[in-house]
C-alpha cells in the first residue's frame, strides 16, 4: 500500500511537469507576440506584457503579405491534399482488407515505402518535374506531390480490418455491388477514422515547410510556414543580426491557432480512435 502511494505521487509529479513544459512555450509565444520591439529587448525580460502592442502583426503585414492571403494559401493546399487522401486512402485500405489477390503484400509494402521516404530526398527530381510541367511557383505543385498520403492507406486498412468481415459477406449475399458495400456500409462505419485522418493530414500539410519553401517564390504565393521563416531572417540572411521577436512570435501565433483549435475540438475522439486502430485484434 505504501509503495502504491509513492507510485501515485511520482506519477502525479511527472504529469504536472509534463503539463507545464508543454504549455510554457505557448505562453511565451503569446506574450512575445503582443510586445513592442523595444519591450522584447528590455533587460530583464518582462514575463507579463507591460505595453500591449500590435507591432509584430504590422511587420508581418508590411514585409510579407496580407495575413488573409497566407491563410488562404495554406488552407487551399491543406484541403486539396486531404480530400483525395481520405477518399483514395479509404478505397485502397478497403481493397487490402476485402480482397485477396496476387502480390498483395508486395503492393502494400511498396506503397508504404512512400510513407517512410521523406520528401527531402526527392526535392531535386521534383523540381525537374515541375520545370517540365511549368508548375514552378504554383500552389498545385505543392498539392500534387502530397495528394494521396500513404499513412492514410495504412491507417484506414488497419481500421477497416477491425470491422467484422460478416458485414461485407452479408452484403454480398444480399447482392450489393462492391462500390455500394464500400461507400454505403463501410464508409459510415469509418467516420471516426476519417476524423483522425483529417486531423493528422491537416497537421502535416499545415506544418509543411521544405517543399513550399523551394517551389513557391513570390510573396503572394507564400504559405504561413514560409512567412515565419521570412520574418525570422528579415534582418539579414545569416540570422546573426537581431531578430524581430514580436513579429516572429506574432506570425507563429497566427500560424499555430488553426492547428491548435482543430486539435482541441476533436481531441477526445482523436485519442480514442488512434488507440483503437493501433490495437491488434
Amino acid at each position: 500500500m505504501k509503495e502504491r502511494n509513492w507510485f501515485n505521487i511520482t506519477m502525479n509529479i511527472i504529469l504536472i511537469l509534463a503539463i507545464i513544459s508543454t504549455l510554457a512555450p505557448i505562453y511565451f509565444l503569446v506574450i512575445t507576440a503582443f510586445k513592442s520591439y523595444a519591450e522584447a529587448y528590455s533587460v530583464p525580460p518582462t514575463f507579463f506584457v507591460q505595453n500591449f502592442s500590435l507591432e509584430g502583426f504590422e511587420i508581418l503585414q508590411k514585409y510579407v503579405t496580407e495575413v488573409e492571403r497566407l491563410f488562404a494559401n495554406s488552407f487551399i493546399i491543406a484541403i486539396a491534399v486531404i480530400i483525395p487522401t481520405i477518399i483514395c486512402g479509404t478505397m485502397a485500405g478497403y481493397a487490402f482488407v476485402a480482397y485477396n489477390f496476387k502480390f498483395k503484400e508486395v503492393i502494400f509494402v511498396t506503397l508504404l515505402t512512400k510513407y517512410l521516404l521523406p520528401e527531402i530526398i526527392l526535392i531535386v527530381p521534383w523540381y525537374w518535374i515541375m520545370l517540365q510541367l511549368k508548375l514552378v511557383n504554383s500552389l498545385f505543385s505543392v498539392i500534387v506531390v502530397n495528394m494521396i498520403g500513404a499513412w492514410t492507406i495504412f491507417f484506414m486498412r488497419s481500421y477497416i480490418s477491425q470491422i467484422p468481415k460478416d458485414y461485407i459477406e452479408a452484403a454480398r449475399i444480399d447482392g450489393a455491388s462492391e462500390n455500394k458495400i464500400l461507400f454505403r456500409i463501410i464508409v459510415p462505419m469509418v467516420r471516426p477514422a476519417w476524423l483522425v485522418a483529417f486531423v493528422i493530414n491537416f497537421i502535416w500539410s499545415w506544418g509543411a515547410l521544405l517543399w513550399p519553401l523551394i517551389i513557391l517564390n513570390t510573396k503572394s504565393n507564400y504559405t504561413l510556414s514560409i512567412a515565419v521563416t521570412f520574418v525570422r531572417y528579415i534582418y539579414g540572411s545569416t540570422g546573426e543580426s537581431p531578430p524581430h521577436y514580436p513579429a516572429l512570435a506574432a506570425t507563429s501565433l497566427v500560424y499555430t491557432i488553426p492547428a491548435l483549435i482543430l486539435y482541441l475540438l476533436v481531441q477526445r475522439s482523436f485519442i480514442e480512435t488512434f488507440i483503437k486502430a493501433g490495437i491488434k485484434r
Binding site: 505557448i26 478505397m91 515505402t113 493501433g278
Partner: protein, 294 residues
C-alpha cells in the same frame, strides 16, 4: 453474376488501388530513379544537366562538411530517439491511470506534436534567445548561472535541437506506447501482482518488455523523420553558427537550393537514402516490423 465469377473482384481491386499507384509512380518511384541520374550530372536548374560521371561522388567522400553532417545527424537521431523513448515511456505509464490529472495530460501532451514545426521551433528560439533579454537566460541568472547563446552556441546547438525535438515528440511517443499498454492482456499484469510485485517492478519486468513491438515501430518511423530533420534547424540556426548544426537535411537543402547545385544535392540524397534504408533494414531484420496497427 457470371462476370463476377469470371473476373472475381479484379476490376474493383484495380479501381481502388490505381490512384495511389499512378501518383506514387510519377512523384515517388520515378523521382527515386531520376535522383540517381541527376547524381551523375552537374545541374544548376538554369541550363540542362550535363553528365559528369562519378565527380559528385568523389567530391562527396572528400567533403568535410558532409562527413561532419553524418556525425552530427547520427548524434542527433540517437539523442532524440533515446530521449523520446525514455520520456514517452514514463509519460505513457503516468497517463495509464484513472485520474482527472491523467485525463487532462492525455489531451495536453499531444499539443507539441500538433503544433506546426516552424511555430514550435520559433517559440523555443524566443525562449532561448541569446543575450540578457532572453527568458531562459534571465531565469538561469536568477539561479546563479551564467548566460548562454543556447541554439546559437557552437557546442550547445545540436544538444538544444535534441531537447527541442524530444519535447516535440514525447506526447506522440506516449500516445503510441499508451495504446500498447492498453493492448497488454490484463491477466499478465494481475499475475505479477499476485506474485507480490510492486507497481514499479511490474512495469519494469512485465509491461515494458511487452511494449517492444511498439518501440520498434517508433524507432523505424522516427529514424526516417529525424535523419532528415529540416524545419526546426532552418528556422532556428540555418546550420550555423558556421557549420555547428549542419544536420543532413539542412545540408541537402543548402546544397540543392542555397547553392543551386542540383547534381551534388541528388548525390547527397542517394547516399543518405541508401544509408538510412540500410539502417532500417538491419533494424527490421533484428527486431521485426511489429508495432502499431500491424
Amino acid at each position: 453474376m457470371n462476370m463476377q465469377k469470371k473476373y472475381g473482384y479484379r476490376l474493383h481491386i484495380i479501381l481502388y488501388l490505381l490512384p495511389p499507384i499512378i501518383l506514387y509512380s510519377i512523384f515517388y518511384y520515378l523521382p527515386l530513379a531520376l535522383n540517381i541520374y541527376f547524381s551523375f550530372t552537374r545541374w544548376d536548374y538554369a541550363r540542362p544537366p550535363t553528365w559528369i560521371g562519378l565527380d559528385n561522388y568523389v567530391k562527396l567522400i572528400n567533403d568535410p562538411i558532409f562527413i561532419k553532417s553524418l556525425y552530427l545527424t547520427a548524434f542527433y537521431v540517437i539523442g532524440v530517439l533515446g530521449g523520446s523513448i525514455i520520456t514517452g515511456t514514463i509519460l505513457a505509464i503516468a497517463i495509464n491511470r484513472e485520474s482527472k490529472l491523467a485525463l487532462i495530460t492525455r489531451v495536453i501532451m499531444l499539443i507539441p506534436y500538433m503544433l506546426p514545426e516552424v511555430a514550435a521551433a520559433t517559440a523555443w528560439f524566443i525562449i532561448f534567445a541569446p543575450g540578457p533579454m532572453g527568458y531562459a537566460n534571465y531565469i538561469f541568472s536568477l539561479l546563479g548561472m551564467g548566460s548562454s547563446s543556447w541554439f546559437l552556441d557552437v557546442n550547445l546547438g545540436v544538444p538544444m535541437l535534441i531537447i527541442y525535438s524530444i519535447w516535440k515528440n514525447t506526447g506522440f511517443f506516449a500516445l503510441v506506447l499508451y495504446a500498447g499498454l492498453k493492448a497488454i492482456p490484463k491477466d499478465a499484469i494481475e499475475a505479477a501482482y499476485i506474485d507480490g510485485a510492486s507497481e514499479f517492478q511490474t512495469y519494469r519486468k512485465v509491461i515494458i518488455p511487452l511494449l517492444r513491438p511498439m518501440i520498434t515501430f517508433l524507432i523505424i518511423t522516427t529514424i526516417m523523420s529525424t535523419w532528415f530533420v529540416f524545419g526546426s534547424v532552418y528556422v532556428i540556426t540555418k546550420g550555423g553558427p558556421g557549420t555547428a548544426t549542419m544536420l543532413t537535411g539542412m545540408y541537402m537543402y543548402l546544397i540543392s537550393f542555397g547553392q543551386n547545385n542540383g547534381g551534388y544535392g541528388a548525390a547527397l540524397a542517394v547516399v543518405n537514402t541508401a544509408l538510412i534504408l540500410g539502417i532500417v533494414y538491419l533494424q527490421i531484420k533484428r527486431f521485426g516490423v511489429g508495432g502499431y496497427g500491424t
